[in-house]
Symmetry: C2
Subunit: 739 residues, 2 copies
């Protein structure tokens, strides 16, 4: 088989994944929707979620339209004929980039909306299935989640492929990747606001309704008397499902485009050397992604097991099938597409073997993060237990212990990323691919292949992630509709597994963002040099190619400092937004308790819709400031300090963002599970009595859990997106930073 | 006056400051020591402090001896004759560097020990003075603090000057700065362990005795029935006084040496161009420091005022006098020492004017940080009030609001540092001093002058800092000895001012560390190039000078990632150490309450000494792990990834460390003052009633205060030292990283 044949797989694989998502959606939708009470609650959740998503995406769409116009104008003004050596420049290039931005934004929104639609339909069906069978409930939730997973990855693949081909991918494969960067920017623009808005909504509703219900009124979580409870259930969907979907849509899109830009360097070498199918080096990321989708489709059928089995094992089985098939797909792709016309790498080994190794490093990194996240956020290991123990002496020591654990998690994260980058770069280097100046370009390409390898399992990981809010909702529906104990026991088990899968996805998102960082920097440098090269060719004086991002240059250092600061300041705004929005909810629920006294004896139904509406408005208002800060900072720094400095902002900002996200995600997850650890009766006093609910230790653990909420579900995940947004924004607006 | 004459000021100014410190010490010591009860408590505190310092400094001395031997061996083995172009290399250079390390360590220990000795003598005298007069109490506390301030700065100045002259500063001024880097490393080595051990001790004692006393037994803070209370009072001295003294000793030493290394570049230019007194460019930092000492001596006499005046105004008066005199000293020094033989800078302005401007930028940065810190940590402004408001809904929202405020403080910090660096670099550039290759070396030297300008006020700032633990102790002694209400009212007012001055010093320490960072990087690059230059001259193949620290190089990026991670991991260890040590205290105090029931009715005196002893042992055990991690990480990265990568670790680690320290210091300070804001009765409920002590809002604020303790007094200040240690360790061990 040759590379041209293998490239034919992209379109069918993407379409197959969409068809499979439709099949799964139909499978889920035709299932039993449970009792009348269940349907009632589910209907209310559905309405709230749709109302939020409609308003949120209208706002985002409006912002995206403005963004597209601005981008088109900037590109039109700065990438002029004088610096162009293609027949696309100025206004035409501006309009194309603006269009690519809009298509990226639209694809991201579409996958978010459809995925969430199925998710809020799958929740009640999971609750209903839980009345009969654990395995069936797992399957409904996982298939519902997989709709989202497949749509995200398939729309990203088809979108990038479509726009690539439209913009001349077959005729000018060496130029088209640069023309489609707008797609990635559009995707990250939407992702930023989707994650921020969803994250603020979900945690404000969670914190607000818990504080006013559990703490003030003394009624249980998810109790129907709490007017905030529906907003809380809606929040699970809009944050974890739509938000994370947009996050990973952006990852797969931006990192594909970045890898294709890096592929251009190898394409040029391959073409000059006369190797067969040089464009294979550019198409490679898309083919790998296609194999990842096929692997995931097969794996979905392996999510099965016995009624008495740990549901996590069923999900893990599918994950391992995806990973194993991905290794096979990776071997085929590298073997077929990475032909070097007989030229061998180090030790006389063919080049593709080294890149295959790099891809396996990426898959292994994904597995490593799954285990690291489990170690730090599961009650079976030291960190969570340490926090639970510290709860004995009250909330202060609980917070201190949780902070120490959160900070500690950066160790394993940084070391793993460092090893993955080092090894994949080393392996790529060994392939021995040198450009005309004798520079080995394989190293950076090795990190790109590792990123592609890692992202092969995205659809499966995302299905597991959406499993989280579906089962969380199923538990809420069961509680709310006072379902039979057996069903509630099953939904509780699934909810616990869902917490783990949500944490894993965040670890995966962080790992992919950091592994991809290096490839996106390199793409930025390639793009800058493309422009500088044109200026040099046009005879402009005093222009040199960007060969180094020199931290010892004062402007680069200042920009790096601002990049690291941006990460904190952005998180500060996101965390504060949750607090402000939660206050609005507390005020409203208190008012309902006060003015509708019948609520407490169930004689009056609280006005859920009003709380949903207030939360929606507040969350959407609060998402704007952090979003604009994230977009504006790199632009201002780039314009003031230039293109080398903005690369410093990008790189140091990425390091700082990845680490702070790790701290926030894992710290929050550990606090959450320390509370669960105590609730499960694992903490004993000196006399051997269980220190469970209603003890001071539990109250202290609840404080930690509440503090962790905006960390792990608002600021942390938003930072993943911020890091990638920095990369796409600088990639698209590079011409603005060059004078 | 010529530069040679001005250089003569160094030795007399240093000696004068020592004599003045002796005068102040005698003045403090001969004052009234109050009632018998006061003397009793003070005696117990004194014993505990001496016991801790003796044990701590024995441990540190042992570690320093090992460090000196290792350094001597490494330098002997790596800086061999083959790479040397002076007559000092190999074993001789190794022994000299080891000796310089020991002298630096010894000077740092001496200033810490003596300063703390006076501090624990001044506390009771301040309490006694408070029985008579506010002004007298302020003066006793400030003079006691000034002993520490003068000794730290004078010993640093005399130490650097002495070793510089001993190692040939007069005969080979261009080589001597490189020979004395060991002094700075010795100072930062001691500072790291002094700050860690002291910081762990003070906050473990504070948190531990508060939790077991206030929370469990329900007795007030500083109540004599609490067996941990003496340990708490001892802790104020060993953490804030000895720890911060070592921190700023290290700043003044390392940054002087770094500036002298940068001066070598200008010295070479000046010598080749035949400008008068070229060595003035190297001596400059020492002369500036001497003027700073003289300014501070004068300023001490301006700390006076009326009995009804806010004590903060008296301290501020002195600070402004120091700053104003420093500007004058700076003008004289730059005018006399920065002669360029008639060559003019931009706009035909003499070079010294531009450098004078850069120095003023440094002084202005110091003032800016004083105000920024006040804004974020004082109850008069939005941030602290926001945290106090959030306390209404419990500890969780208090922590969330405090975290948001802590993260937010990075904005003003980063922007101020960015502006200071940019402007001082720009001004230095304008001086138009170019080396033989036409490279403008003035910019980096401008940042060095700014740092020197900023550090002119160190002695005064440090006196204000030590004012903190002295007044804190005076308050504790008054409470403990049940002194009359008037005295307690005065000590309470002083204590509140002391909290502010402690916070200011941390802001100052952070600002100086970050402003100095750039000069220390540049010194590292100069040192590396000195070695590489020798290798090139010796005909070694494939060696190039280090002209760029390229973040786009995968090894540099990995090292940067590890540098940023180190900051979190180190903080995690430091924070956890406080928790572990506090647990040991809680167990012991509980045991005493249980086994000695007479304690509660005052009939039995608790065994304070035992708690002091337990805290001492635990704190010293806990300081080793974070200390070794900090020392080992840059060495391992440097050996594995090389000299350019370790520069990446240094720079990104500095950015990350400065920002995290800002978050921890200001967040902790804001939590502390939010509690005080509520205690002062500023928080009202909906009906207008005061929500003060014993309300839920106050309890929530106490949680925030306790969480902030290890942040602001252990991890944050230790990070200042870590950042500078990274710079000195890489500077000394550079030969190890070059192959």
């Amino acid at each position: 088989m040759d590379a041209k044949t293998l490239e034919l797989i992209i379109l069918p694989a993407g379409l197959l994944a969409v068809l499979f998502a439709i099949y799964l959606a139909r499978d889920v939708l035709r299932r039993d929707t449970g009792t009348k009470e269940m349907q009632d609650v589910a209907g209310t959740i559905f309405e709230g979620a749709v109302a939020f998503i409609r308003r949120q995406y209208s706002t985002i769409a409006a912002l995206a339209l403005v963004g597209a116009v601005v981008i088109a104008a900037v590109i039109s003004a700065f990438e002029t004929k004088e610096v162009a050596d293609t027949n696309i420049f100025g206004v035409e290039l501006g309009i194309r980039t603006g269009l690519a931005f809009l298509v990226g934004a639209a694809c991201s929104m579409a996958s978010g909306i459809i995925g969430m639609y199925i998710s809020v339909k799958a929740n009640v069906r999971t609750a209903a299935a839980a009345r009969r069978s654990l395995v069936e409930a797992v399957q409904v939730a996982m298939r519902g989640g997989a709709v989202s997973g497949f749509l995200v990855v398939a729309l990203s693949l088809l979108g990038v492929y479509g726009i690539f081909v439209t913009f001349g991918g077959f005729t000018h494969p060496e130029q088209a990747p640069f023309l489609i960067v707008g797609f990635g920017f559009g995707a990250s623009f939407v992702a930023l606001f989707a994650q921020l808005g969803g994250g603020i909504y979900t945690k404000a509703a969670d914190v607000g309704s818990d504080l006013v219900g559990k703490v003030e009124a003394g009624i249980p979580e998810d109790d129907p008397r709490n007017a905030g409870v529906i907003a809380d259930l809606v929040g699970d969907n809009v944050g974890d499902c739509a938000g994370r979907g947009a996050d990973l849509f952006e990852s797969t899109a931006a990192e594909n485009i970045g890898a294709m830009i890096l592929g251009v360097a190898v394409y040029t070498i391959a073409k000059n050397a006369g190797w067969a199918n040089p464009e294979a080096w550019i198409f490679f990321p898309l083919v790998v992604r296609a194999f990842g989708l096929i692997s995931t489709i097969v794996a979905i059928f392996f999510v099965r097991g016995r009624e008495d089995e740990n549901p996590m094992h069923m999900l893990n089985r599918g994950y391992w099938v995806t990973t194993a098939l991905s290794v096979v797909g990776l071997a085929i792709t590298t073997n077929v597409m990475m032909q070097t016309g007989g030229q061998l790498g180090a030790n006389g080994t063919p080049a593709w073997i080294w890149f295959f190794g790099a891809g396996v490093v990426g898959l292994a990194t994904s597995v490593a993060f799954v285990y690291i996240t489990q170690y730090y956020t599961s009650g079976s290991y030291r960190p969570v237990r340490e926090i639970a123990e510290a709860s004995r002496t009250g909330p202060a020591t609980n917070i201190i212990a949780g902070t120490a654990v959160g900070y500690e998690t950066t160790l394993a994260t940084a070391i793993t990323i460092a090893i993955a980058l080092f090894v994949s770069h080393f392996l790529g280097d060994q392939a021995g691919i040198k450009n005309a100046d004798g520079v080995n370009v394989g190293g950076v390409f090795g990190t790109a292949v590792a990123t592609m390898g890692m992202l092969m399992t995205t659809a499966y990981i995302l299905a597991m992630d959406t499993f989280g809010p579906i089962t969380d909702n199923a538990g809420g529906i069961a509680e709310f509709s006072r379902a039979e104990a057996g069903a509630r026991e099953i939904t509780d088990r699934l909810d616990a597994v869902g917490n783990t899968t949500k944490a894993l996805t965040k670890g995966y998102a962080i790992a992919s963002a950091s592994l991809a960082a290096f490839l996106l920097f390199s793409a930025y440098i390639d793009k800058v040099n493309l422009i500088l090269g044109r200026q040099i060719a046009a005879g402009k004086e005093g222009v040199h190619l960007l060969t180094s991002v020199n931290l010892a240059n004062v402007n680069v250092f200042i920009a790096g400092l601002i990049g690291a600061m941006l990460v904190y300041f952005f998180s500060s705004l996101a965390i504060r937004a949750v607090g402000t929005t939660a206050q609005a909810i507390i005020v409203e629920v208190r008012r309902q308790f006060r003015e509708m006294p019948g609520i407490m004896d169930y004689s009056v139904r609280p006005d859920y819709a009003r709380v949903v509406d207030i939360t929606t408005k507040a969350a959407l208002r609060q998402m704007v400031a952090p979003g604009l800060v994230a977009v504006a900072t790199p632009i201002i720094v780039g314009v003031l300090l230039g293109y080398e400095a903005v690369a410093g902002l990008l790189m140091v900002g990425t390091i700082a963002g990845v680490l702070l996200a790790t701290v926030l995600n894992n710290g929050g997850g550990a606090w959450d599970n320390a509370k669960k650890y105590i609730e499960s009766g694992h903490l004993l006093d000196a006399a051997g009595n269980v220190l469970g609910k209603k003890t001071d230790a539990h109250a202290a653990a609840v404080v930690g859990d509440t503090v962790g909420d905006p960390f792990k579900d608002t600021a942390g995940p938003s930072l993943h997106v911020l890091v990638k947004l920095l990369a796409t924004i600088t990639l698209v607006l590079a011409p603005l930073f060059i004078r």
